[in-house]
Amino acid sequence: MSFESFLIVAAILFCIGLYGALARRNVLAVLMSIELMFNAVNITLVAMAKYLAPAGLQDDISTVLTGQVFAVFIITVAAAEIALGLGIVFAMYRTDETVDLSEAIQMRH
């Protein structure tokens, strides 16, 4: 498995997520798409941690865990974000009785 294949998977995953986030009307679908983009980034980080090492540490690359630590952080933050996002979705549904993003334009004015 080469480094590039990880990046290609991650890029495909990111583009699917981006498309979903931009194109879907349903807020839940948008949130799920954002999750996809997060995970694409996580894959990239972990892959880079495995294949690329900072200058001066090439010999001992297995000890460098920066990428993995970032990935764990992102998973945590994403969990918090999705909890908050779902809370907003509930609030929106309760007031507007819809989860359609195109109708959430009150902040325009």
């Binding site: 986030a21 993003l101 009150q106």
Partner: protein, 681 residues
């Protein structure tokens, strides 16, 4: 010898009475406003005493030079506050305090019962203080300050009865027209300031008046710092200021209108002292003027023209005060003409005698007004029976104005005429000739209007006073504004408090002409040609010249000529107005166009007010500015507003509230940036 403090007190005393009247009496004891009058009279009485002391000191030749106080240093010039006491100043101090004192006493009677009694005295004190400060200033900036202060007091006093629209308008007119002249004076001062470096290189101060005299002299040790064309323009700038204040053509139109003020104000300010400030200013800078033939010629010709021009309008006026106002303008023209010809001492001598008899004439007019309630001579007549003292005094003052021997006006006017005929060599001969003949014509006109005024006022039958005037007015037109200051007719002599100052002025009018300037021998210990020699010596000292300036010897021939001219005018007036009254209308028909031209004041007011101000200034100048303001300036501002309002609307269209649209744009923008970076690399 007087000390510096004494001379300053002459200025500070009226200033103090102004403060007292304005800040203490008026706000706190206005019910007892008589206090302010008495305080002013007390202050002025003391000031008169101190002025006489100063004059005595100047006569005795004491060294009256005092170190000025430094106020501001501006570049190379220094603005100082100091005293300049020469014979001219010493004489002016006595004239101003003396006339002012008498007028204040008279005002106790004239202004009695006026609700603004203390305001009146406050203004009068302020005026006197400013005038005294003006004549004793040693620095041109200091002088200018008092010059403007005098203008302000004049404005306040002309508009004293400010509830009358005509008085308010006259006050504004006086202020604005004198301001036009003052611009010239200011430019002259600014020019001096630009030369400050040259002055200080020669050890002189560009603002110090004696230093300016020095700088104008070619033979002075410093060399001519100002000379040639620059000197001419400098002198003309100063003359512009003087012409504004002294009502010289073409800036004379404010003075007759200034008669809207209370009559004692007219007597003090618009006849005796303030209007003489212009003559004083030219005299003060005489050592500068005399180095420019062109400037002297202009001064002489403007003065000579004004003398005849104003006298001609005095011939037809019906308002007694306006006749006197034009007479004042005309007499100031004599003084200016004299200065222009280089007759320094005769001009100031005439200023002094004129102050006495013209103040008396005005006080007499006030007295007549007190009795009849009107100033219009068509509604007077026959007053000599009820007001004998006023009549006699006015008659004496009138003859003095005409120049009948041995009254004051004769001696001073004769000096001017004689000097004009002889010439002083400072201007070309033709200027001398033109001036002389204008002044002789002026004498005839003066005699005519003076006698006309006295005949219309005091002779014949009484023609109804203010009651008749109001009646005629309301039948003529709807204009029923009560013009008079003192309503009601009470035909009797004025109270003693008004008569007494007039008597004093009457005595002065009779004697001062000869006593101050004995023509043949020493009289009562007064040397021959005292006043002219005194002034000429002062001038010579100012120029650092040694020896006595020459004085004019009395000439029988000239006295005969001027007396004949005066008698001609008097005879005509008597013939037309007294002997054959019916003739008046016949003559008026004959010279109707001229008469209309004169009563319309040569259409000068029309020219200024309608053509220059309304047509040109309002319509063309202000109209253009208005158009520019509305279209260019407002347009620009509106355009800016319009631009941002519309660009806001346009950009606002992009704000849809659709989060996904925004995100799409951001995503593609980021892509574009990345692409661009990749391509650049």
């Amino acid at each position: 010898m007087v000390s510096e403090a004494v001379i300053w007190s002459i200025f500070l005393l009226p200033l103090g009475s102004f403060m007292f009247a304005a800040l203490v009496v008026r706000p706190l004891f206005n019910r007892y406003s008589l206090i302010s009058g008495l305080a002013t009279i007390g202050a002025l009485g003391t000031a008169l005493g101190l002025s006489i002391w100063t004059l005595r000191s100047a006569i005795l030749g004491h060294h009256l030079e005092f170190e000025p106080l430094k106020w501001l240093e501006v570049g190379d010039a220094t603005i100082e506050i100091g005293l300049l006491v020469d014979p001219l100043t010493a004489l002016m101090l006595v004239v101003v305090t003396g006339v002012s004192l008498l007028v204040q006493i008279y005002s106790l009677g004239y202004m009695k019962g006026d609700p603004s009694f203390s305001r009146y005295y406050a203004y009068m004190s302020l005026f006197t203080a400013a005038m005294l400060g003006l004549v004793m200033s040693s620095n041109i900036i200091q002088l200018y300050m008092f010059w403007e202060l005098v203008g302000v007091s004049s404005y306040l006093l002309i508009g004293f009865w400010h509830e009358r629209p005509s008085a308010a308008a006259a006050a504004k007119k006086a202020f604005i027209i004198t301001r036009i002249g003052d611009v010239g004076f200011l430019i002259a001062i600014l020019y001096l300031f630009t030369q400050a470096e040259t002055f200080s290189a020669a050890g002189l101060n560009a603002f110090h008046i004696p230093d300016i005299w020095m700088a104008a002299q070619a033979e002075a040790a410093a060399g001519a710092i100002i000379g040639g064309t620059a000197l001419t323009w400098l002198a003309l700038g100063i003359f512009a200021g003087a012409a504004g204040k002294s009502g010289q053509f073409p800036l004379h139109t404010w003075l007759p209108d200034a008669m809207e003020g209370p009559t004692p104000v007219s007597a003090l300010i618009h006849a005796a002292t303030m209007v003489a400030a212009g003559v004083f200013l030219v005299a003060r800078f005489f050592p500068v003027f005399e180095h420019s033939i062109d400037a002297m010629t202009v001064v002489a010709l403007v003065g000579a023209f004004t003398a005849v021009f104003a006298a001609s309008m005095g011939l037809v006026m019906n308002d007694i005060k306006r006749v006197m106002a034009y007479s004042t303008v005309s007499q100031l023209g004599y003084m200016m003409a004299a200065l222009g010809l280089g007759l320094y001492a005769p001009a100031i001598f005439h200023l002094v005698t004129h102050a006495a008899f013209k103040a008396l004439l005005f006080l007499g007019a006030g007295s007549v007004n007190h009795a009849t309630g009107t100033f219009d001579m068509r509604y007077m007549g026959g007053l000599r029976k009820v007001m004998p003292v006023t009549y006699v005094l006015m008659f004496i003052a009138g003859l003095s104005l005409v120049g009948i021997i041995p009254l004051a006006g004769f001696w001073s006017k004769d000096e001017i005429l004689l000097g004009a005929w002889d010439g002083t060599g400072l201007v070309d001969t033709w200027v001398n000739r033109v001036t002389f003949f204008s002044l002789i014509v002026g004498v005839v006109a003066t005699a005519f209007y003076t006698m006309r005024m006295i005949i219309l006022t005091f002779h014949g039958e009484f023609r109804g006073g203010i009651d008749k005037e109001i009646e005629d007015r309301s039948s003529d037109a709807a204009d029923d504004t009560n013009h008079s200051a003192h309503g009601g007719i009470h035909l009797h002599e004025s109270p003693l408090v008004m008569i007494l100052p007039m008597l004093v002025l009457g005595v002065i009018t009779v004697v001062i002409g000869y006593i101050a300037n004995p023509q043949w021998v020493d009289e009562f210990g007064i040397p021959k040609h005292w006043i002219t020699a005194f002034l000429s010596d002062g001038l010579a000292e100012a120029k650092n010249a040694i020896g006595h300036h020459e004085t004019l010897e009395f000439s029988r021939g000239m006295a005969l000529v001027s007396t004949l001219a005066a008698l001609l005018g008097i005879g005509l007036a008597v013939l037309v107005y007294l002997k054959r009254r019916r003739l008046v209308s016949d003559i008026l028909v004959l010279v109707k166009p001229v008469h209309i031209l004169l009563t319309q004041k040569y259409y000068m007011d029309y020219l200024y007010e309608n053509l220059m101000v309304r047509k040109w200034f309002y319509r063309v100048f202000a109209g253009t500015l208005d158009w520019l303001e509305k279209n260019i300036i407002d347009g620009t501002v509106d355009l800016v507003g319009w631009f941002f309002r519309n660009i806001g609307t346009a950009i606002g269209k992009f704000q849809t509230g659709q989060v996904q649209t925004y995100a799409t744009v951001i995503a593609f923008a980021v892509l574009a940036i990345i692409l661009a970076l990749l391509l650049v690399d």
